[in-house]
């Protein structure tokens, strides 16, 4: 029961964040000619792609939680 309540609250929070983001979109953002900094390779969300892939492998096998940034995937994480 408690867990269900927590989950509902989490989903509500996520929905609020998402709708806030979407509603706020009209005021946020830049014009195409203002993308000089955003267009840099190191500003990509996955700029550290190889490092993140290797780190995910380590933390996936050493901790109980995985995913979030991307799919959690399967695997047994033994040893």
């Amino acid at each position: 029961m408690l867990i269900q309540l927590t989950k509902k609250r989490l989903i509500l929070a996520a929905t609020l964040v998402a709708s806030f983001t979407l509603n706020g979109c009209a005021d946020l953002g830049v014009k195409p000619w203002q993308r000089d900094l955003l267009a840099k390779d190191e500003m990509a969300l996955d700029a550290e792609g190889i490092d993140i892939g290797l780190d995910d492998h380590i933390y996936f096998s050493k901790e109980a939680t995985s995913g979030g940034r991307s799919f959690a995937g399967g695997g047994c994480g033994c040893n």
């Binding site: 867990i3 927590t6 989950k7 989490l10 929070a13 996520a14 964040v17 998402a18 983001t21 706020g24 979109c25 009209a26 946020l28 953002g29 830049v30 014009k31 195409p32 000619w33 203002q34 993308r35 000089d36 900094l37 955003l38 267009a39 190191e42 500003m43 990509a44 969300l45 996955d46 550290e48 792609g49 190889i50 490092d51 993140i52 892939g53 290797l54 780190d55 995910d56 492998h57 380590i58 933390y59 996936f60 050493k62 901790e63 109980a64 939680t65 995985s66 995913g67 979030g68 940034r69 991307s70 799919f71 959690a72 995937g73 399967g74 695997g75 047994c76 994480g77 033994c78 040893n79």
Partner: protein, 432 residues
């Protein structure tokens, strides 16, 4: 023993989002095919007295024109040593049967039991294709395969990303399916069956084998995992970018670790029996992930936070931050800090007490227990001519398992049941 994780789709989604974001700037370039780009890395991960891992990664990416992007990756790793088996340390010497049933290993008094002869090699292949489908909509699909001695993992994924508001907002939705099959050394033990140890009580070797085989299941062990991922990427201003992800994951099948054990102790804390662990055959996970990147005049900050919760009662918080400080036009230094905290699974038991009711599921794997961990690291990177780049990073990772409120009877009180784990992560990367 599969340790991989399919992050190709996220990389592709991020790449797609980035491609959309960059499209205005790069409109002229993207109409024609680019050269192949290769990213390579070698990683060493070493724990004091436990797991040692070496991994090599080769990633190849090519834009065939008009943002039709192929990404292929091969990773090979080799692992020796094991994490703690789950059995508790004792005041005396303990003898365990190897998973194969062939031979034994001995753990000295006061030491955390683990089978340090464990070895495995894994090969992972993945391929991802991303391209625009309709105006403002990008699709991505991929496959992956991972194989090691006792494990096979096959996965497919697909996703769509749509951008709005002059490409300042991108919504994405993806799904992945993964099939895993495990064929443990010595076959999977029956959940919570006692480990058969030959202490001379068997008349001959075949009597031991008969007793050992009676604890082994012969049916195949596999599981199915479905992940759903919803994301929003938002440009905040000229310097800042944000992403929110919600993910939902269901795993169904054999989720037990066939090599993990559980001690049954008496009220004096002395081990009376060793059981093979048993986990539930279903797990539903949810996670909320937020990431932001900020370009200041001095460098780029990358901060993320993840909250995850599941029906095993494991809640976790992860804070990750990197700050890339520009040293010159072609070099940077990047400190990294990560903090992680998790609560224990509801079936986690560091040990069982003899005479108490045997639960249907139980595991003493410390990775399912209460724990905090942090990582601190530094990376240095340098750009060379012709788009080549090299980088090196060194990190320190420490895990601190905690007692989630279990009372320790008698002899266990004088032993370290929750030892911390220290590891070094070293990596060299080269892109060309």
């Amino acid at each position: 023993m599969q340790l991989t994780k399919s992050n190709n789709i996220s990389a592709s989604l991020a790449a797609a989002a980035c491609a959309l974001l960059n499209s205005a700037v790069q409109a002229q370039e993207n109409t024609q095919a680019n050269e192949w780009q290769f990213d390579t890395a070698i990683l060493y991960y070493g724990e004091t007295d436990r797991v040692q891992l070496g991994e090599g990664v080769f990633n190849a990416k090519k834009d065939f024109g008009d943002e039709h992007i192929f990404n292929g990756k091969i990773a090979i790793d080799t692992l020796t040593g094991a994490s703690a088996s789950g059995a508790v340390a004792q005041q005396g010497v303990q003898t365990f049967t190897r998973p194969s049933g062939n031979g034994q290993y001995v753990v000295n008094a006061g030491e955390t039991p683990l089978d340090d002869t464990f070895k495995d090699t894994r090969v992972q292949l993945s391929a991802q294709w991303t391209q625009p489908l309709w105006e403002n909509i990008t699709g991505s699909t991929g496959v992956h395969l991972s194989k090691e001695y006792d494990y096979l993992s096959l996965g497919v994924n697909g996703s769509l990303a749509r951008d709005f508001n002059q490409k300042n907002t991108t919504l994405s939705a993806g799904v992945s399916y993964q099939y895993d099959s495990i064929d443990p050394v010595g076959e999977a033990p029956t959940g919570l069956s006692p480990m058969v140890v030959n202490n001379g009580q068997f008349s001959d070797e075949s009597a031991f084998e008969t007793a050992f085989n009676a604890t082994r299941a012969t049916d195949s062990k596999d599981k199915n995992t479905v992940d759903l991922l919803l994301g929003v990427t938002q440009v905040i201003n000229r310097r800042m970018l944000m992403q929110f992800n919600y993910s939902y994951s269901i795993a169904d099948g054999y989720l037990t670790d066939p090599y993990k054990l559980l001690s049954v102790v008496n009220t004096e804390g002395v081990t009376q029996d060793i059981l093979h662990e048993n986990r539930p055959d279903k797990r539903t996970k949810q996670s909320f992930y937020w990431q932001t990147k900020y370009a200041s005049d001095y460098g780029i900050a990358d901060v993320s936070y993840r909250y995850a919760t599941d029906d095993w009662d494991i809640d976790s918080h992860t804070l990750d931050s990197r700050f890339r400080v520009k040293l010159s036009d072609n070099s940077y230094i990047q400190p990294h800090f990560r903090y992680y905290q998790q609560s224990a699974a509801d079936f986690y038991q560091p040990f069982l007490i003899q005479g108490s009711l045997l639960p249907s599921v139980a595991s003493a794997d410390y990775r399912l227990g209460e724990m905090t961990a942090y990582t601190i690291g530094l990376k240095y990177g340098q750009a060379l001519d012709n788009g080549r780049e090299w980088a090196v990073r060194l990190e320190y990772y420490q895990q601190s398992p905690k007692n989630a409120g279990f009372e320790e009877p008698g002899a266990l009180q004088g032993l370290d049941l929750y030892p911390s784990i220290d590891a070094i992560i070293a990596q060299v990367s080269y892109s060309f």
